[in-house]
Amino acid sequence: MSEETDTLQDLADQKYKYGFVSEIESDFAPKGLNEDVIRFISAKKDEPDWLLQYRLDAYRRWLTLEEPTWAKLDYPRIDFQDAYYYAAPKSDSDKPKSIDEVDPELLRVYEKLGIPLHEQEVLAGVEQRKVAVDAVFDSVSVVTTFKEELSKVGVIFCPISEALKTHPELVKQYLGTVVPASDNFYATLNAAVFSEGSFVYIPPGVRCPMELSTYFRINAAKSGQFERTLIIADKGSYVSYLEGCTAPQRDENQLHAAVVELIAMEDAEIKYSTVQNWYPGDENGKGGIYNFVTKRGDCRGDRSKISWTQVETGSAITWKYPSCVLRGDNSVGEFYSIAIANNFQQADTGTKMLHLGKNTSSRIISKGISAGKAQNTYRGLVSIHAKADGARNFTQCDSLLLGDQCGAHTVPYIQSRNPKAILEHEATTSKISDDQLFYCLSRGIPTEEAVALIVNGFCREVLQQLPMEFAVEAQKLVGISLEGSVG
């Protein structure tokens, strides 16, 4: 037991590896939120009138909404007037023409994060594997690489503010159709104040030639980030999108409320992967990011597929439920998740699978790991509508507890209105088995390595789903958060 306490202490003592602050002048909107701030954001982005109206409508609606309290999360009330809603690097007004003109400070930040901004082979030895990076530094995209190669096949991959200028009709057609502005408290807030994000359009029949990737990074103090991502995969197309996040160490709680909308038309497939490693707060639960995210995919066409994979290791508060609306017949939704909560972190995460079409199927694999004094909740909904004949769902949520101060909770909602549907749900909660640990130890594997081995095995089903570029980082993250821990 004492050994356990020691190693858990080590685990708790780990410093946030990516905790540094880079000093770049920011252009702020005044603190707080009102219609003027929204007009400021809109004007700053040079947006069309319909979007300003959309934002203002959302804001007025937001004023009437109440903060949701149903999640198993405990945090002080957020003062929404005590945050900045827009922050852009100074260089915004005269955008760099090439990568050489980018603020070197900014490039160094990315270098520390290990993002290859320059065009280059991503992994040595991997032939022609390329990653396009749309780097979001606070709110404004600075450099987008690989653009030309993508445009050759007709793929549009750009900041959403740019898409509003170059492809306004596409944005207008799809924005808010999956997550309406009235969806929930945080999505409504996002609709009012979103400043940046990615826009992806894959034309019919195109298989996107590379993994698309966006690194988000919250930088300016007290600036909440409100990304808006919109991905449309037209008929018969395929895209794999990666989202990864690290944020500098800070004391104030930072608010983050992103919205991600995915639309898959007939026979299209979208694979969306996330590694989230924002600042989780220190060992006393001070600071850390508050992460309230609405992610939803709409399988609009028949035989379409949307797959969510997430590795959630950061943030003080995680409130995130990537969902799939399985509208098209034979469409498929998947959700693979690893949520690691340590110290005073709280995670309430899961998914929603709404089966509307015939023969739709969904698969949910959730692995929750709690350590320190953390609380980890899986909350998920599987809903089969009356017309979804032959719908199929399989759900598995496993929780692993490291230490006796943490909590692991499972709150699944399973609803079926169709006798032809088959639903299966199973969940287990356990600690690292003494037998497994003993087996490893007796073969000379040190405790630390043995725990890492066992936990990696516990998460394997999810890690396997990540694209290779991410799998490396994710495995490292799981490893880091387990250094020195023991069962």
Binding site: L401, T410, P419, L423, A427, S430
Partner: protein, 428 residues
């Protein structure tokens, strides 16, 4: 037209009750009514009542059938017969086993049960238990002394004719069963007919080494509106064996709120529910593991036909101190119709690391291959369906140890199957 049950009427009745209550009871009523007034009648905005909106159900008009099924008769049992929510001594024989009526206990200036009623595994924020505490009038109190094993079961027979002009605020019944150390008892609860609105709260206190077998049969008519709760505390090495059968009603909900309060306490619940037509059937459980080394098992099986709605909400709570908990939970539901609906919410809330907790939930229909197998052997479809439904449920019913009770349960299931299991799911 009868008065609609409303918060104002209920609170007025509470005030009237309060004025004539003994001081100990008055204090209890005050605390409960204050909490109840704050929350009001539960509606779907309250998470625990999300799928069972009682406030709405009470506003709907229901039509009471004229020919109601007669309540079952259990041979060799002491009976406490409640006719329309009132204890009928002429049909009862509970005195033989030392039970007494709640009305008598409540009227006492200083009752030995004063410190027990409402204090077994207290549910301070439960709206219905608070309402029941504030308005309880009829009921039964059974105390089994140390080391005594009651050979004959106690049959709590609730029968409702459906016409209840006397009480517009509904009927609120309270049962209290206290088992001292090493005591054993068997409880058989049957609910028949159509209460216009009833709440029944059964409090069970199981001292160390005691054992209670609890068979609960809800055989309501379609118009019945009842919400019931079994609230228990299971002491060291004590065992609770529950079997619940329910057919649902216009609004039928039963909650089992069990606290495993002593080491090596064990609670096991097997349940079968068969719901048809437009009925609503809600089974809610909370297994609260408060100390180390306790075990709980729940197996719920349901069959849903017509446009019925079945709800299963099961929660397993494991406190930080409750290491070595072993908790299992299984919910299986079968939909026989395209308009039926099942909602399942199997929840785990775990604060201890050295535990084994698992839950499983499935929903589906009758196995087409099995049906084909039977049909190919010349068994008519309706009969084949009934056979498969029976095979699905019989596992739960086999857990009823008492043969007479098992026979009654199986007879109820058979009657139901004759009426509904033949309903073909594809002909809608």
């Amino acid at each position: 037209m009868a008065k609609v049950v409303s918060l104002d009427n209920l609170l007025a009745s509470v005030a009237a009750r309060r004025s004539e209550a003994a001081p100990w009871l008055g204090a209890l009523i005050d605390a409960a009514s204050e909490k109840f007034a704050h929350v009001g009648l539960p509606n779907r905005r309250i998470e625990a009542w999300r799928y069972s909106d009682l406030a709405k159900a009470l506003h709907e008009t229901v039509k009471v059938e004229s020919d109601l099924d007669a309540p079952p008769a259990l041979a060799e049992a002491c009976v406490a017969a409640f006719e329309n929510g009132v204890l009928d001594d002429s049909k009862s024989s509970y005195c033989a086993m030392g039970a007494q009526s709640l009305r008598k206990v409540l009227a006492e200036k200083d009752s030995p049960f004063a410190g027990i009623i409402g204090r077994i595994n207290p549910q301070a924020d439960h709206p219905i238990i608070n309402l029941n505490t504030a308005l309880m009038e009829e009921g039964l109190v059974l105390h089994v002394p140390k080391g005594v094993t009651l050979a004959t079961p106690l049959h709590l027979r609730f029968n409702w004719s459906g016409v209840d002009a006397a009480s517009a605020d509904g009927r609120h019944l309270r049962i209290l069963v206290v088992l001292d150390e090493d005591a054993e008892a068997t409880l058989f609860e049957s609910h028949d007919g159509a209460p216009s609105f009833a709440t029944v709260v059964t409090e069970l206190s199981l001292a160390p080494n005691s054992k209670l077998t609890h068979v609960r049969l809800e055989n309501f008519a379609a118009a019945a509106r009842q919400t019931a709760a079994t609230v228990g505390s299971v002491g060291e090495k004590a065992a609770y064996r529950g079997f619940y059968f329910s057919q649902g009603g216009h609004f039928a909900r039963h909650e089992a709120l069990m606290k495993l309060a002593g080491e090596e306490a064990d609670a096991r619940i097997d349940a079968a529910y068969m719901v048809a037509d437009k009925r609503h059937c809600d089974n809610t459980t909370v297994m609260d593991h408060a100390v180390p080394n306790t075990t709980s098992t729940q197996v719920f099986r349901g069959v849903l036909a017509g446009s019925s709605r079945g709800v299963y909400q099961g929660c397993v709570k494991v406190a930080q101190a409750a290491q070595k908990t072993d908790a299992r939970q299984l919910s299986r539901a079968m939909l026989l119709s395209h308009r039926a609906e099942i909602v399942t919410k199997p929840e785990l809330e775990i604060f201890a690391d050295d535990v084994k907790c698992s839950h499983g939930a499935t929903a589906g229909e009758l196995d087409a291959n099995a049906l084909f197998f039977l049909r190919a052997r010349g068994i008519p479809e309706a009969e084949a369906r009934a056979m498969l439904v029976e095979a699905f449920l019989i596992e739960a019913m086999d857990t009823v140890e008492n043969e007479a009770m098992r026979a009654i349960v199986i007879a109820c299931a058979h009657t139901w199957m004759l009426r509904h299991a033949g309903e073909a799911s594809h002909v809608e």
